[in-house]
């Protein structure tokens, strides 16, 4: 088993491949992940996503067009629980710079999401005033693309800060004290126990409820969902955290420390 770790998209990324001499493929997978990070981050002035948010309309790269189309589809499928138009709500909550640079400051009023946008081939058009944040879904997508690269060497796993993509093999993954053996699909964990900060003296976190435009107030602390791939798992985990039905196998942890297996797991 060969392992490589690095930092990207504001999190730790781990690559595992069950093949000897896979250094070149590990480097390829890391380069692919970093390339997608550069395109889809909202924290770099020269990223493609920043250009889209600034201009409101661009002829995008195939990757950005694909991720925005996936996000649009996810918004429809989850009844708006997953919504990439929470960009301004995140900024209003204080998440206006990379997480490591966040500090306490005055609070701003919440900004409800739900603005319109469309994807026509590679053309992305945002309605006036709409800006996108692709944080979680871009991470899942990058994990899948990196896994595709690594799979050329052999069975592999990519763990992008809790968003896990696999190709082949049998992978024991630690989740809330359990070990889940994943042989197909992807997995994602999201929650408010990390990536949280204070604003106006009040605790904030990155999981925005699109209906209120503010960090979700819920007794759920953390959820993990297993789905067809890391992108789908990320969408389902966000939806479940925000009160969606647990249709897929998963683990839910609440504030009082209770752990619940859902979706037929267990």
């Amino acid at each position: 088993m060969t392992r490589r770790t690095f930092q990207a998209m504001g999190t730790d990324v781990e690559l595992l491949v069950d093949a000897p001499g896979a250094e070149r493929h590990l480097a390829d997978a890391e380069a692919e992940f970093r390339r997608l990070d550069r395109a889809m981050t909202r924290f770099r002035g020269d990223s493609e996503l920043r250009r889209l948010n600034r201009d409101g309309e661009i002829e995008a790269s195939p990757d950005l067009a694909r991720v925005v189309a996936l996000a649009l589809d996810a918004r429809e499928r989850t009844g708006g629980r997953f919504d990439p138009t929470v960009h301004d709500a995140l900024v209003a909550a204080g998440y206006d710079r990379t997480f490591s640079e966040l500090e306490d400051g005055p609070s701003s009023p919440p900004t409800p999401a739900g603005g319109g946008f469309r994807v026509d081939g590679r053309r992305i058009v945002l309605e006036p005033g709409v800006r996108l944040d692709l944080g979680g879904i871009a991470k899942g997508y990058a994990a899948e693309r990196a896994a595709e690269r690594l799979a050329i060497a052999g069975p592999c796993l990519v763990n992008a800060g809790g968003d896990i993509a696999i190709r082949g093999g049998c992978w024991p993954i630690g989740v809330e004290g359990f070990t889940l053996e994943l042989t197909a699909g992807g997995l994602a964990t999201t929650g408010r126990d990390r990536r949280r900060w204070r604003r106006g003296g009040r605790e904030q976190h990155h999981l925005i409820d699109p209906a209120t435009g503010a960090p979700a107030r819920t007794d759920v602390l953390r959820v993990t969902v297993v789905a067809g791939d890391a992108v789908e798992a990320e969408v389902a985990a966000t939806s479940l955290f925000l009160g969606g039905e647990p249709g897929l196998p998963g683990v839910v942890v609440t504030d009082d420390g209770r752990t619940r297996l859902v979706g037929g797991l267990g």
Binding site: M1, G10, T11, D12, E14, L16, K139, E148, A151, I152, G154, P155, C156, L157, N159, A160, G161, G162, D163, I164, R167, G168, G169, W171, P172, I173, G174, V175, F178, T179, L180, E181, L182, T183, A184, G185, G186, L187, A188, T189, T190, G191, R192, D193, R194, R195, R222, T224, V226, A227, G228, D229, E232, L248, P249, L265, G266
Partner: protein, 91 residues
């Protein structure tokens, strides 16, 4: 101009006319242009490579191992009593 100089000009002109006529006849403009045999060989080779590529693709798709499959799959998961290789957590 003397007669001698005139004869030289006439000889030079006759030589030019002779060689131009030679070049025209040698080019055989009455025959249809034949395709470059190298281009023909390249076209044959291209068709052969396309056939080979289709064959290889058919073999690969029949033998494609699971770790190279990019198609969406149904998740397969169960709880086991093994030490984890990696841990998932909120990022």
């Amino acid at each position: 101009m003397t007669n001698h100089t005139g004869r030289l000009y006439a000889l030079a002109l006759a030589l030019v006319v002779f060689f131009v006529a030679w070049a025209v006849v040698a080019a055989r403009p009455w025959q249809p242009a034949s395709p470059d045999p190298r281009l023909h060989a390249l076209a044959v080779r291209q068709a052969q490579l396309r056939r080979d590529a289709r064959l290889v693709q058919q073999i690969v798709s029949r033998q494609r191992p699971a770790h190279l499959s990019g198609a969406a799959v149904a998740p397969s998961v169960r709880i086991v009593n093994l030490p984890p290789l990696t841990i998932t957590r909120t990022s």
